[in-house]
């Protein structure tokens, strides 16, 4: 039995991995469907090429590669020339020029041989030559991520990369470069390419790997595996920011779940046993009323009509440490409980109504079942009948509900966190949506999906333990 359960659990976990993987990819693709607006600077006045600030922004937020597949490795010199022509075409709309520039940048080092070949082409006009050199200095450099000031002294590869980038930056033509300066730079670039050619000789394997590897999706996934969700717009790590708030939301969620289960099962059982039919009717009516009351309505009324600093304060997650800095742990816990009492009630009352209704239906079905009748007929005491025969079987519908309860609680906590000004992931999500911080939105979607998956897994497991009919050998 035990080993069967373990095998079943492992099997369920294995099934969940592809599901979670699909979720991650779907979320990434959908949230990356809209084109990224040119941030901060830029506009009609510029000549196709982007400023350094925009590049930095795109590199920081993992936007400097194609989304799913990189066709850059397979580009020909002719295509690169077309892109250069398009991005210097003064008649084309700004968006077209920008798109051409971005495609060139997304090619990365794979464009360097073609750009070098173009430098030897005498038919280019000076503006195009300038742009080719500009792109050379960008595409040929090593990608160095993260802050460079805290790098260890002994990371020689990184230091070499930074030195190379510095050299490439000195070869970049200035906007007001004279034709003589451009000609000199052109010779310098050709000499540089003669020297560093080996770095840009790519095998087919390299190209294939880059087609799938040099993409936003791959980089996002590979960093995700290391627990790195990227950076927020304030350049702080998303994982830490979301994790900090997840603790708050999880506290709310777990307490609500405990409240729901500890109240709904007795309520449902009591309703089902019907010691007093009138009470059952009242409870049923109450369930309907609670179910139809919107959470935000109740929460708003509570915030507006309860004293904000009363016994149950209606804002925040615990008092500010500045207010009373000398609280002991027990006092802090008590303070926390007082703060989240009303939010927890608001999150859970709707689900409480649903679950107790399900529990009631489940218990009624079991009470009328033959085996309970038989147990009664054998003269077993009522407590035994309820404890051994009714409770265990009647709980099964509630357990199946558990998987859908967690997402509902998470949804509810968004509203409650917003109204009670609790700094959890729901409120953070709303703030992220307002500033379009997609890294945060993706992270929160992933976290909530993962929580739901875990809940479904636990519900399945609990169901398997509670339902004596389930035999592990036959289940798939």
């Amino acid at each position: 039995m035990r080993s069967g359960l373990l095998a079943y659990a492992c099997q369920r976990l294995l099934v969940m991995i592809p599901t979670f993987f699909t979720i991650i990819i779907l979320v990434f693709i959908i949230l990356n469907l809209i084109p990224v607006p040119p941030p901060f600077v830029g506009g009609e006045g510029q000549s196709g090429d982007e400023t350094e600030t925009q590049r930095r922004f795109r590199e920081t937020f993992n936007l400097d590669r194609p989304l799913l597949f990189n066709t850059g490795p397979w580009a020909t010199t002719r295509e690169v020339l077309t892109l250069i022509e398009r991005s210097t075409d003064g008649d084309a709309p700004f968006a077209t020029r920008l798109a051409a520039t971005r495609s060139l940048e997304e090619m990365g080092p794979f464009a360097v041989p073609h750009l070098s070949a173009l430098l030897q082409d005498p038919s280019l006009d000076p503006e195009q030559v300038r742009l080719v050199m500009h792109h050379l200095s960008y595409n040929a450099r090593h990608r160095v991520r993260g802050p460079t000031h805290a790098v260890s002294q002994h990371d020689h590869a990184l230091h070499r990369a930074i030195a190379t980038n510095h050299e490439l930056a000195t070869l970049r033509p200035r906007d007001d470069a004279s034709p003589e300066q451009l000609a000199a730079l052109r010779l310098a670039w050709l000499a540089w390419y003669e020297r560093d050619q080996a770095r840009f000789a790519f095998s087919t394997g390299d190209r294939l790997a880059a087609t799938f590897g040099e993409t936003r999706l791959y980089h996002y996934l590979s960093r995700l595996l290391q627990g790195d969700f990227g950076l927020t717009l304030q350049q702080e790590p998303v994982a830490a920011e979301v994790g900090k708030r997840l603790k708050v939301s999880l506290t709310l969620g777990v307490l609500s779940l405990l409240l729901i289960l500890s109240l709904s099962l007795p309520l449902g059982l009591f309703s089902a046993l019907r010691p007093w039919p009138l009470l059952d009717h009242i409870l049923t009516a109450l369930v309907f009323v609670l179910y139809a009351l919107p959470v935000f309505f109740v929460a708003t009324l509570a915030v507006e009509h309860l004293p904000p600093q009363g016994f149950f304060p209606t804002s925040g997650f615990g008092s500010s440490p500045l207010q009373n800095p000398n609280m002991t742990s027990a006092e802090r816990l008590w303070d926390l409980l007082r703060h989240i009492f009303i939010p927890v009630i608001c999150i859970s009352y709707g689900a409480l109504a649903t679950v107790s209704r399900y529990a009631r239906a489940g218990f009624i079905e079991v009470i009328n079942a033959d085996h309970v009748l038989a147990a009664r007929a054998r003269g077993l005491p009522t407590a035994t009948v309820i404890g051994k025969h009714i409770l265990r079987n009647g709980m099964l519908p509630v357990l199946t509900l558990l998987g859908t309860l967690i997402p509902a609680l998470l949804s509810g906590s968004v509203v409650v966190e917003y109204i009670f000004e609790i700094d959890g992931i729901g409120r953070y999500l709303l703030m992220a949506i307002q500033v379009r911080d997609f890294a945060v939105i993706m992270a929160i979607l992933h976290y909530s999906a993962l929580l739901t998956l875990v809940a479904i897994f636990l519900a399945d497991l609990a169901y398997a333990v509670a339902d004596p009919r389930i035999t592990f050998a036959r289940r798939t």
């Binding site: 139809a292 919107p294 935000f296 309505f297 967690i406 968004v414 509203v415 999906a449």
Partner: protein, 447 residues
């Protein structure tokens, strides 16, 4: 089969509709819920008759006119297609009733659905040119930006209300949902002037413009008071019912339609189609719906009500899909389906003429709950400040009340939502009981 056992031709089993009607008659809660929903629908449709800033009837230069009717379909007078469509129902509903009465008396075999469709289509076709006729292009409403802005401030559109009526009959509440000032005949203290107006028209009126955000007290003109901008709460509540009904019906239609299609496909075709759809459902179920909907609205610049409807519909289809998949799997095993297939009916015919009608009970229940859910989700999104700012929805009103600490603005839309959701949930529960096959129902005993 021999014909010797007694036929029950004289006591034909009650039709499905009769059965449903009987069930509804037997349940007072269901009846009450239906009555409430019907009242809500009528309130939504006839909101302009109850609350409008245009006089229903006016007399000027010894000529009768109806500014209210003239502007009923004026597309420049409303922000979106929502209100003109509902306004169409104002005239179409009585027309439909009349036509049905006439047609059914003349043509007894006319299908009631065909009749309904005919009348609605005919009234649409007839009313649109009529509206253009009633509202000629040189109407004062369309004479420029100033008039357009004026309409949001004055109880009557600027050009209309500048005229001195010899006599006029106002609507019971002489304000539309976006009329921001008091009645022109009331005291000239122009409370609740909107911010934009006080900036644009500074110094243009004799009263000194001031930013007045405190809601004014209820007066006889405003039976339930006004909101922070001086807009009538009663009018906004009535028009809010329009948004709620639109969101509920449209989003539920998308969700249930999509879910039914995918669920039937999965259950009926089976194989890799079933595998694919089931995995998709599994993935969708993992997202907390509100979080997913909010994240999707982040992709839109300024989500309109119809964007929200699409997002809600496209994310809430999993429950109907699961249900219909189960129904299709269950019904496929039934003997009559096998018989129909063996008789040579095409799968499409079997699907739509045998399988779907038998699943309609479960579908009706799922639709009811989908409607309630869509309304709730839309209100929540509006409350969180991410909804359509141009449509007066109950959730938006509640959020305004929350921000401006106005009890009436919180309580009224909240109660309206509560009553609506309660009625829809009661309807759903009643339908579930009515369709439940395990339920013992009173049927005429076989003779």
């Amino acid at each position: 089969m021999s014909h010797d056992h007694p036929q029950r031709a004289d006591a034909a089993p009650p039709s499905w509709w009769q059965d449903l009607a009987d069930t509804i008659r037997q349940r007072p809660a269901l009846r009450a819920a239906l009555a409430v929903l019907l009242a809500l629908f009528l309130l939504a449709v006839y909101a302009p008759l109850l609350a409008s800033d245009l006089p229903l009837l006016a007399r000027e230069h010894s000529q009768w006119s109806s500014p209210w009717l003239n502007n009923l379909f004026n597309k420049t007078y409303y922000d979106g297609p929502l209100d003109p469509t509902f306004n169409l129902l104002i005239l179409a509903l009585p027309l439909y009733g009349l036509a049905r009465w006439l047609l059914l008396r003349r043509i007894p075999h006319l299908s009631r659905w065909a009749g309904a469709l005919f009348v609605l289509a005919a009234s649409w076709l007839a009313l649109d040119p009529a509206a253009n006729y009633l509202n000629p292009p040189d109407s004062p409403r369309e004479s420029g930006l100033h008039d357009l802005l004026g309409a949001y401030q004055a109880p009557y559109p600027k050009g209309v209300h500048d005229r001195s009526w010899q006599w006029h009959l106002p609507a019971p509440i002489a304000f539309s949902f976006r009329t921001t000032t008091a009645h022109p005949h009331s005291a000239p203290t122009w409370q609740g002037r909107p911010l934009l107006h006080s900036i644009l028209w500074q110094g243009s009126t004799d009263a000194p413009p001031r930013l007045h955000l405190a809601p004014s007290l209820p007066r006889w003109r405003h039976p339930l008071g006004t909101d922070n901008l001086g807009r009538d709460l009663t009018a906004r509540l009535c028009y809010g019912a329009r948004a709620a009904i639109t969101v509920g019906l449209a989003a539920a239609a998308i969700a249930v339609g999509l879910g039914t299609l995918l669920g039937l496909l999965a259950g009926w075709v089976g194989g890799w189609v079933d595998l694919l759809i089931s995995r998709l459902i599994e993935v969708m179920v993992c997202f907390p719906s509100l979080i997913l909907i909010l994240a999707l609205t982040a992709l839109l610049d300024a989500p309109s009500l119809f964007h929200l409807i699409a997002v809600i519909g496209l994310t809430r289809w999993t429950a109907p899909a699961r249900l219909m998949r189960g129904e299709a799997l269950r019904l496929r095993q039934e003997v009559y389906i096998t018989a129909a297939l063996a008789l040579g009916l095409r799968p499409r015919e079997v699907l739509f003429r045998h399988l779907l009608p038998n699943a309609i009970g479960a579908l009706a229940v799922a639709t009811t709950f989908a409607i309630a859910n869509a309304i709730l989700v839309e209100s929540t999104v509006a409350l969180l400040g991410m909804g359509d700012a141009t449509v007066p929805t109950w959730g938006k009103m509640l959020n305004d009340g929350r921000v401006f600490h106005n009890t009436a603005m919180m309580l009224l839309p909240g109660l309206a939502l509560f009553v609506t959701l309660l009625a829809i949930n009661l309807l759903g529960e009643g339908l579930r009981d009515a369709f439940d096959p395990r339920q013992q129902r009173q049927r005429p005993p076989p003779s």
